[in-house]
Amino acid sequence: MSDPSATAEQPIYLDYQATTPVDPRVAEAMWPWLTERFGNPHSVHHSFGQAAEQAVEAARAEIAALIGAEPREVVFTSGATESNNTAIKGAAHFHAEFGKRHLVTTAIEHKCVLESCKRLEREGFEVTVLPVEPDGLLDLDRLAAAIRDDTVLVSVMAANNEIGVLQPIEQIGALCRERGVYFHTDAAQAVGKIPLDVKAMNVDLLSLSGHKLYGPKGIGALYLRRRPRVRIEPLLDGGGQERAVRSGTVPAPLAVGLGEGCRIAGAEMDAEAARLWQLQRRLRERLAAGLPDVRFNGHAERRLPGNLSVTVPGLDAETLIEHTPGLAFSTASACSSASVEPSYVLSALGLGDADAAASIRLGLGRMTTEQEVDAAADELCRVAARLRAEGKTRLTGAAARAAGE
């Protein structure tokens, strides 16, 4: 059977949680700073540097505006991984001498949060990793019970990168404020997609990323509350840039790109979210119609507009990906997509290894069209049905082990 979408044409991109295309407006905004306006933003004594500095500050203001912060509460980093590492390790290291040696996080955080916590554990810190409910939500009573007198920080992501579930950030913030512990949220997937307000939500530290909101890779930011002031130890020492929280030249073109990405996201968020919700429902309905036993993971309403986590029982996700070359999607997060281990996020939701290995992540975004959604749904249903009919439901890796093959 011919498969027109799989040949010369670009595959349909359905991996918006891995990375988003750079919005052409963002690339355009960056271009002058890659060509004639090339100064080092810290060379403040000449015009080249001053121009770059002003551009960086304008970008900082755009970021701040999107999350309800003040510009001086925003520190540029190389991305969400660095922001998360800085927030978690930095807060722990700074407050260790005051007897604060405990952190709380959840089992479905991004790897860079969990790995930062593991590094701290090896250094002698204690970490409580909370489970989540089958719908992916954190139970607030469980969180309240986990906070101790020596807890320095609670880190809970705003939106999950695999299953798209949104955590109750406002309630978590209120609880942490009441208990006097820092609240850090990895909002890499949420910023620009859903409304966030660090003041109203009592967030003390927030990580965000350029390339998840149609900006460039290699740039992110960390929000650090000023009142009451959040104190952390820097991860990078040196020239003392970014108020000594993060040394290193701020890359002006990338910062400008992140700023423009934030500006566009802020201006277009409502309309785009509504459109993506429609596309998500459409995709969900078409998949459910074509594959009656399909299951959707994570809370149905409290989720990112542009994400679906789908389990096609008994059908190995890797095999499905292999047979749908016209679609670009993944099984789980990009950093672990080369791994054969089942998704720890889906495991945390209670999925068995076989179901976890039969799950895919479909990410929709700004450039996704209704036609693409329809084509993708048809293709997935058609290929899944064919593979089942041919008995090619080969389970590999962990799924095979789980199924006893």
Binding site: D15, T19, M30, T35, T81, P251, S337
Partner: protein, 369 residues
């Protein structure tokens, strides 16, 4: 059109590098994704890794991409597991300010005092990392890295070399230098800001600074900065191909210094007694604060710097010149002129014209005026 003579702070992005960045920005893809888009991004990253490796003569697999020189330096010093960090007193702040760094003095010519290094290493048997830059950002002084390695080896110490200022200005051969770790930066050689690398040339321990998704063979987590890395690769290729042009920049620099000296006895050229980068000149004007000079030059449309472009506004007397034995006043009255790939001979004249006026105005008693 203002004249840019601050290449050691950041170089204009080479057209090939800007194009490589723009091309990569147009293509979606996370280099860790296994689908076609991801593989495209991966190819850009790996092509760049080869180009950057060729620039310093190392194997591509030894390179770990970072967000820049500061991160690579922090990673090398903090991750090495050494119990002592011996760093030259003229290092960049991203080395000098890592907690625990012990400065080793410079000689008056700007080079590290090898005897002092040997003494410091002999005084304490704990495992040490020695960090010495290949070329200084303020004076251009080229450090005797191979000799530092020799001394370090005698005491079983590991050696890190911050080489951000060298590639593209002088030939760099990491193997011949014999260092274990080497830091590189894209934007100092005409690549974009926001990319750098740490070459891990030995098999010693190195704990990553950023933990997470396990990218860069587990040494550096975080989604690869595909566009900036691609720009780094393109810039590295051009810088290598154009290395010969540095000879010409060296002649311009020498002419600049000869004419500057003629402005009178208040003028000093710092660091000229040791081998230097051909593009860098560190000029002192006695009695005129560096900040005043830089701002006066800026008004005339000439961009130079008062040392390293780091923490905003505050101009301190250069710690590099202080380490070479200069007093507060002398160390606080020097400017750095640095040339690079887009420099023109006329740029030097523009500088001399402007700086000459300043020199004459502030040294009226001088007979040359």
């Amino acid at each position: 059109m203002p004249v840019y003579l601050d290449y050691n702070a950041t170089a204009p992005v080479r057209p090939e590098a800007a194009q490589a960045v723009a091309d990569a920005l147009q293509e979606v893809g996370n280099a860790s994704s296994v689908h076609r888009f991801g593989r495209g991004a991966r190819r850009r990253v790996e092509d760049a890794r080869e180009a950057v490796a060729a620039l310093i003569g190392c194997k591509p697999s030894t390179l770990v991409f970072t967000s820049g020189g500061t991160e690579a330096n922090n990673m090398a010093l903090r991750g090495s597991r050494a119990e002592r960090l011996l760093v030259s007193a003229g290092e960049h702040d991203s080395v000098l300010r890592v907690p625990g760094a012990e400065p080793v003095p410079l000689r008056p010519d700007g080079r590290i005092d090898l005897d002092a290094l040997a003494t410091a290493l002999a005084a304490d048997p704990r495992p040490a990392l020695v960090s010495v830059m290949l070329a200084n950002n303020e004076t251009g002084t080229i450090q005797p890295v191979a000799e530092v390695v020799e001394v370090a080896r005698r005491h079983g110490a590991r050696v890190h070399c911050d080489a951000v200022q060298a590639p593209g200005k002088i030939a760099v051969d990491a193997a011949a230098l014999g260092v274990d770790l080497m830091t590189l930066s894209a934007h100092k050689l005409g690549g974009p800001q926001g990319a750098g690398a740490l070459a891990i040339l030995d098999d010693g321990p190195l704990a990553g600074l950023l933990t997470g998704g396990g990218q860069e063979r587990g040494f550096r987590a975080g989604t690869e900065n595909v566009a900036a890395i691609a720009g780094f690769g393109a810039a590295a290729e051009r810088a290598r191909a154009e290395l010969d042009r540095m000879r010409e920049f060296g002649r311009w620099r020498d002419r600049l210094e000869a004419e500057a000296r003629a402005f009178g006895p208040a003028v000093r050229v710092h660091g000229a007694d040791a081998p230097r980068l051909p593009n860098t000149s560190c000029l002192g004007l006695a009695g005129v604060r560096a900040e005043t000079q830089v701002m006066a030059l800026d008004l005339d449309g000439v961009a130079v710097s008062s040392g390293s472009a780091c923490s905003s506004g505050k101009v301190h007397p250069s710690h590099v010149l202080r380490a070479m034995g200069l007093g507060e006043d002398a160390a606080g009255s020097a400017v750095r002129v640095s040339l690079g790939w887009a420099s023109a001979a006329g740029d030097v004249d523009r500088f001399l014209e402007s700086w000459g006026r300043l020199a004459r105005r502030h040294a009226p008693a001088d007979s040359a005026a």
